[in-house]
């Protein structure tokens, strides 16, 4: 294993410290228990708190700021954060509109956020994201996994919360976006958890894992590497099959958001190639892409690979996707 590490035990804290220093204009870091929150906290809004295991950066800390999250609780690498972190984050921000937790659907995250929600004496609600259509149950989940589509949820709910909307309204929008977003990922290599020191799984030089999870957990099937168009076609078809199952009706008027997310070790050059390939295919299916995002947004440490997410837009989602945002990892119109 060749990684930038001083001491294994210090990796997380040193990385969080660097993040807080690099983005000191936007975030501040609290320690013991660890959480990051907005430097300039807005009042009179629903407080949005997310979190999860580390190793997926910029998720979630990179999405703290105006128009998105108020705070994020990072756990150890690929390990859920603990309730004391969520409680400390929630209690550090004053609100009269309640707290909304945005949680990716993994057993550990669900249980820890659930306990925090029970222990928190502020009105609160939780959205569980489950956009990954690759597999139903998996190493860490009952039901579907929450992956890159989570950032579309965080962006849209974040925008709505800035308008002073209620807890119920924010939760409803988040659930709608989650329902209308499907994702699937493919791994070209494994990732290596620093503390483990060796690749999480074995993948032969000429093999890929279709439907891989963002911790390197198994997907649908393993296949031989092939040309990009063939791989992307399988991803796009899986998403469209999922939309059919969700009974998301598609007409010519429908607009979509296409997100090509890198897992950490795939160059942007290839991510844009995937974007090109996916747009060609979606056009053949009569699907109109009017919003796009390409880059490393929900990573899996040093895994090579990418995920494709497609969100079926409506006027409300479009409005909140387009609205101003100022975070470390996403910034536009302000």
């Amino acid at each position: 294993m060749k990684k930038f590490i001083n001491k294994l035990d210090d990796v997380l804290l040193e990385s969080l410290s660097g993040f807080a220093e690099a983005h000191a204009d936007i975030v501040k870091l609290a320690l013991d228990p660890h959480f990051l929150s907005r430097k300039n906290q807005a009042l009179n809004k629903v407080v949005l708190i997310s979190g999860g295991g580390s190793g997926h950066e910029p998720l979630h800390v990179g999405f703290i700021g105006y128009g998105m999250l108020d705070a994020a609780c990072p756990g150890h690498v690929f390990t859920s954060p603990t309730p004391d972190q969520m409680l400390a984050a929630a209690q550090s921000i004053s609100t009269n509109k309640g707290v909304l937790f945005i949680v990716k659907n993994y057993a550990g995250d669900v249980m820890n956020f659930e306990m925090a929600a029970e222990m928190l004496n502020i009105e609160n609600a939780t959205i569980y994201t489950s956009d990954d259509c690759a597999v139903l149950n998996s190493t860490y989940t009952e039901g579907r996994r929450g992956v890159a589509g989570t950032i579309v949820v965080e962006k849209c709910v974040g925008s709505l919360a800035e308008t002073g909307a209620s807890l119920a309204e924010c939760k409803a929008l988040g659930e709608k976006v989650n329902q209308r977003t499907s994702s699937i990922g493919v791994a070209l290599t494994s990732c290596t958890v620093p503390a483990a020191g060796r690749p999480t799984f074995n993948l032969a030089e000429d093999e890929i894992e279709m439907g891989v999870g963002i911790h390197g957990e198994p997907g649908r099937r393993r296949l031989k590497m092939q040309e990009a168009d063939a791989v992307v076609k399988e991803c796009v078809e899986a998403i469209l099959a999922d939309w059919q199952q969700k009974q998301l009706s598609l007409t010519e008027q429908h607009e979509t958001l296409l997100l090509i997310n890198g897992f950490g070790a795939t160059p942007l050059m290839e991510l844009y190639l995937i974007y090109h390939s996916a747009t060609k295919l979606l056009k053949q299916h009569g699907i109109c892409i009017t919003r796009s995002l390409v880059g490393n947004y929900t990573t899996a440490l040093d895994m090579a690979g990418a995920s494709v997410s497609l969100c079926l837009l409506d006027d409300e989602i479009k409005y909140h996707w387009d609205s101003p945002v100022h975070t470390a990892a996403m910034r536009w119109k302000c």
Binding site: P33, G53, G75, H76, F78, T79, S80, P81, T82, P83, D84, A107, G108, M111, N112, E114, M115, V135, N137, S138, T139, Y140, T141, E142, V193, A195, A196, T200, H215, E217, P218
Partner: protein, 209 residues
């Protein structure tokens, strides 16, 4: 049962986990994600290092503190599950001087029920509950029949061992191996293994003269 026994038990559990590093690591690598040993080690270390803080507390308060500590130390799924166990057991713990075997069995059972509720899981799903549920049931039955402590301890160790072995042929429907389906068959569940180790360590301590 006094707080001093709980503190000794924590040390015995830590030793047992350290002694079984290779076994826990390899089980979790087969059907989990390979972090179970690290998490259990971290949890045990956290509890053992609370000795000074716990020693003057009642058993119930000490168990509750242990639960809260595990909740903030472990993360993952094991944090909330084990924390729910200790915090619920603490709530049911008999008052000082009234801790007979049956009341301890009932408190233990309350802890196991809390894990079932939190994890939304039951018997036969290839998890730690395949060890804990039979152990708890037997503990209650034997305590109701007023069996001796020594008899109960030996029976519970056997029950834990059997529960662990039973996980080998189960298909996981909950927990870390659920995504593997039939691929997890033929493998022991690592969470069940660590529970078996914990129960054995505590029973052996209770048996010691």
């Amino acid at each position: 049962m006094h707080t001093s026994f709980i503190l000794d038990a924590a040390k015995a559990i830590q030793q047992s986990i350290l002694n079984n590093e290779a076994a826990l690591e390899s089980l979790d690598r087969e059907i989990g994600d390979g972090d179970h040993y690290i998490n259990m080690k971290r949890g045990a270390q956290a509890i053992v290092s609370m000795q000074e803080e716990l020693v003057s507390l009642s058993a119930a308060l000490a168990l509750n503190k242990i639960g809260l500590k595990l909740l903030s130390t472990l993360g993952g799924a094991s944090g909330p599950l084990l924390a729910s166990f200790f915090m619920s057991m603490a709530k049911q713990w008999p008052a000082a001087g009234k801790a007979d075997l049956l009341s301890i069995a009932l408190a233990f059972d309350a802890g196991v029920q809390a894990i079932m509720l939190r994890g939304k899981a039951g018997l036969g799903e290839k998890t730690m509950l395949d060890v804990l549920i039979p152990v708890s049931q037997q503990f209650k039955q034997l305590a109701e029949k007023k069996q001796t402590k020594a008899f109960i301890c030996i029976a519970l160790m056997e029950s834990a061992e059997q529960g662990l072995i039973n996980t080998r042929d189960l298909i996981a429907t909950k927990g870390r191996a659920a995504g593997l389906g039939e691929r997890a068959m033929g493998h022991l569940d690592p969470g069940a293994k660590s529970c078996q180790l914990i129960i054995t360590a505590v029973c052996q301590l209770a048996l010691a003269p």
